[in-house]
């Protein structure tokens, strides 16, 4: 457990917490971006360079911007009257605490069965490309269709309704 790991994980967790706790929506998004960046660095730490860069490109570069656009379009930057948390937030907190308990317990309990550190894999982009169009061609194509559909769907859903002549 190296120091880098601790710092990076602290950063990520802090970003996540901030994203969930801040009042201003845009601040939340920025915190989220920090969490995304932390995760990307963690990926790099895990020798998953392609995943890490993909994370930066997609998440930070697209998803976060998308969320900001959504916030701006829905006037989310205005503070709500009754507070930012729902009336029954205790139930939600309890549910998520239970989930964390179970997950944590599972991880810790199976510690002995988990594999140990292995040698660093030699991964290059060429291999990734080849496996994409080789072994994982089907998921690739499906994801392509999915993205097309999502694109069209999002446009249609968010489109302004035309005034139908009655």
């Amino acid at each position: 457990m190296s120091l880098v790991f601790y710092i990076l994980s602290a950063l990520t967790v802090a970003g996540g917490l901030a994203a969930m706790l801040l009042k201003n929506m845009v601040h939340c998004v920025l915190a989220l971006t920090v969490a995304f960046a932390g995760l990307a660095l963690l990926f790099l730490n895990l020798d998953a360079q392609f995943a890490g860069f993909a994370q930066i490109l997609v998440y930070i570069g697209a998803v976060a911007i998308l969320v900001v656009f959504a916030i701006l379009l829905t006037r989310g930057s205005e503070t709500p009257q009754e507070g930012i948390f729902s009336r029954t937030w205790q139930a939600g907190l309890a549910a998520s605490a239970a989930v964390f308990a179970v997950l944590g317990w599972a991880v810790l309990h199976s510690m002995s069965q988990l594999p140990h550190e292995t040698a660093m894999p030699d991964v290059n982009v060429r291999q990734i490309g080849q496996s994409l169009v080789g072994r994982y061609v089907l998921p690739l194509e499906i994801v392509a269709v999915l993205l097309t559909v999502a694109l069209i769907g999002a446009v249609i859903i968010a489109m302004q309704e035309k005034e139908e002549p009655k």
Binding site: V67, P80, F85, V107, V123, I157, A158
Partner: protein
């Protein structure tokens, strides 16, 4: 504590934080942010298991994570489009007020 365990714990923590936000915040967009966080935590799990599991040369974990990123992006787009449309109709994104589907 092996490195893997550490990564897994972090992922679990991130997941719970995302879940807590999704379950407690009023604004619909924040629920979606929470969901993004949960997905990212899952990705971290995948990459960690890829790195410390058998056969990392098969690239299974990384591929899974990449596809997950792609799907998450698509889902975020659609979800936010829905939130925008709902905002147009209900003039609000407050989830506590959206109970028209009640029984």
């Amino acid at each position: 504590m092996t490195p893997l365990t550490g990564y897994l714990l972090v992922a679990a923590l991130l997941f719970s934080i995302g879940l807590a936000g999704a379950l407690t915040r009023r604004n619909a967009i924040l629920v979606l942010i929470g969901i993004e966080l949960m997905l990212n935590a899952a990705n971290l799990n995948l990459i960690a298991f890829w790195r410390y599991g058998p056969h990392p040369e098969a690239l299974t974990g990384m591929m899974f994570a990449i596809f997950s990123i792609a799907v998450a992006a698509a889902e975020a787009a659609v979800g936010l489009g829905l939130v925008i449309q709902i905002h147009r109709h209900a003039k609000t994104t407050d989830l506590d007020q959206m109970n028209r589907m009640k029984g």
